[in-house]
């Protein structure tokens, strides 16, 4: 079985954990690193390996409220990959949490997901 992917969070980049055992992906923390490819590149590569077996489910939780432009690019690439795997028959679902009562951030996440056809929800984070 594929090994767990763990990318340590920093002041400028999120914690990322892809766990093949629990079938979960967690992205937690704001994202404005100098080099977004260094943060998200390994994840996108790992997702390709993760979905090698057919019909592999993945439950994604995102707790990342702010992204710089290069992070936004990598996240849209990641979402495009997830869409591709969903189209191939893998059960993918995503929950993106936003801070309570911040409708601007909620709007932003809706924009990220405007082309997604896999199940997703944009949910207020309980304080």
């Amino acid at each position: 079985m594929m090994k767990k992917l763990h990318i340590e969070g920093t002041r400028y980049s999120p914690r990322i954990e892809l766990d093949p055992e629990t079938r979960t992906l967690l992205i937690e923390g704001d994202s404005y690193p100098e080099n977004a490819v260094d943060v998200y590149g390994p994840l996108i590569t790992a997702l390709d390996e993760y979905f090698e077996q057919p019909n592999t489910p993945l439950n994604i939780k995102m707790l990342s409220f702010f992204q710089n432009t290069s992070s936004s690019k990598m996240i849209t690439d990641m979402l495009a990959r997830l869409q591709h795997f969903f189209d191939m028959g893998h059960p993918v679902e995503l929950t993106w949490f936003y801070p309570s009562d911040d409708l601007e951030i909620k709007d932003t996440f809706e924009l990220f997901l405007e082309d997604a056809s896999f199940p997703y929800s944009i949910t207020q984070l309980e304080e």
Binding site: N35, A36, V37, D38, G41, F66, Q67, N68, T69, S70, S72, K73, M74, T76, D77, A80, E104, I105, D107, T108, L111, F112, E114, D115
Partner: protein, 327 residues
């Protein structure tokens, strides 16, 4: 992986297009299905570019809103300095400069506040701070802080012109604040607050340390030094509506201001008595010409410019106004 790999997919598509062109160059055409595939891929990229542009705009708008909100908590000259990148946001970045420092408070405010409802107290205090802050910015002062009804301002940093100019602006600001207080007393009286509030002010000029003080996690852009303590102590010594200035401040403004005889004050924290002066007003050739007559207890408040209307004409105007009202 480098930052160039951020556009790995886009580069792949371009390479594919170039490869197709090379492959079919000799034939002078590209198979329709290859062209179709390229067009589909470009369409995906265009959609993503549009999405990223909109996301970026949203984030920028949010940043602007947050910066605007933060700017309300930071004096404009400091905000400008921080956002321009000229200010190193770290402790230990202080400079020794000569500034003029101003302290004010409302005499007996604590006592007044025990006699007022919370909402009324908030309304009066905010109205007072709003008016005084407007005057501070008008005279180019850097608002250091509010401490309840107390206000601390300094002149000469971050924008410096000359020691004399800063001392002059500090005292002119104080005079305008005093004038404005007399008008506000009338307004507050009309709003149902019967007790007149009186401001007292202290100004001192001298070398201080100005810059970032505090910890790496929370800092203040402020001033420290003997002139700061002196201004605070002079304010505490001042009587109602009195402006006390230090000898050095006086030396910069004595040609434009009428001041009382210098007096020595025993100020806490100062070993020797401190020479200070009461500011009475501008010298005649610098005078603001408006005259103010006010007796709030009998509902009288009158302000006029004697250069534009003499007393006899004023009395006739009042009588006419009274007659018109009766008719």
């Amino acid at each position: 992986m480098g930052q160039n790999d951020l556009f790995g997919r886009e580069q792949e598509l371009l390479d594919r297009a170039r490869a197709l062109l090379e492959e079919h160059n000799s034939q002078g055409c590209i198979p329709i299905e290859d062209f179709q595939a390229l067009a589909t891929a470009y369409s995906e990229l265009l959609k993503q570019s549009s999405q990223l542009t909109r996301l970026s705009d949203k984030q920028q708008k949010r940043m602007n809103t947050l910066m605007d909100r933060l700017s309300r908590y930071v004096p404009p000259p400091i905000y400008k300095k921080i956002t321009s990148g000229k200010e190193k946001v770290e402790t230990g970045t202080t400079r020794r400069v000569k500034l003029s420092i101003f302290f004010s408070d409302i005499k007996g405010f604590s006592w007044h506040s025990t006699k007022m409802e919370g909402e009324a107290l908030t309304a009066i205090l905010n109205s007072y701070l709003e008016e005084m802050t407007h005057i501070i910015f008008k005279h180019g002062g850097t608002l250091d802080k509010y401490i309840g009804d107390a206000i601390v301002v300094f002149f000469g940093d971050p924008d410096f012109s000359s020691d004399a100019e800063h001392a002059r602006r500090a005292v002119m600001m104080a005079l305008e604040m005093r004038q404005r207080m007399t008008e506000l007393q009338h307004k507050w009286f009309e709003l149902g607050f019967p007790e007149p509030l009186h401001i007292r002010m202290g100004i001192s000029t001298g070398f201080v340390n100005v810059g970032n003080f505090g910890s790496s996690e929370h800092m203040d852009y402020t001033v420290i030094g003997a002139p700061v303590n002196m201004a605070a102590r002079l304010q505490a010594e001042a009587a109602e509506d009195q402006i006390l200035i230090s000898h050095e401040t006086w030396s910069f403004v004595r040609d434009i201001l009428e001041c009382g005889e210098g007096r020595y004050y025993e100020l806490k924290g100062f070993y020797n008595p401190v020479l200070a002066y009461e500011v009475q007003g501008l010298k005649p050739n610098n005078q603001n010409q408006d005259r103010v007559i006010q007796y709030p207890e009998i509902g009288v408040y009158l302000r006029y410019d004697p250069n534009r209307i003499d007393l006899d004409a004023l009395i006739s105007l009042i009588r006419k106004n009274d007659t018109d009202r009766l008719e």
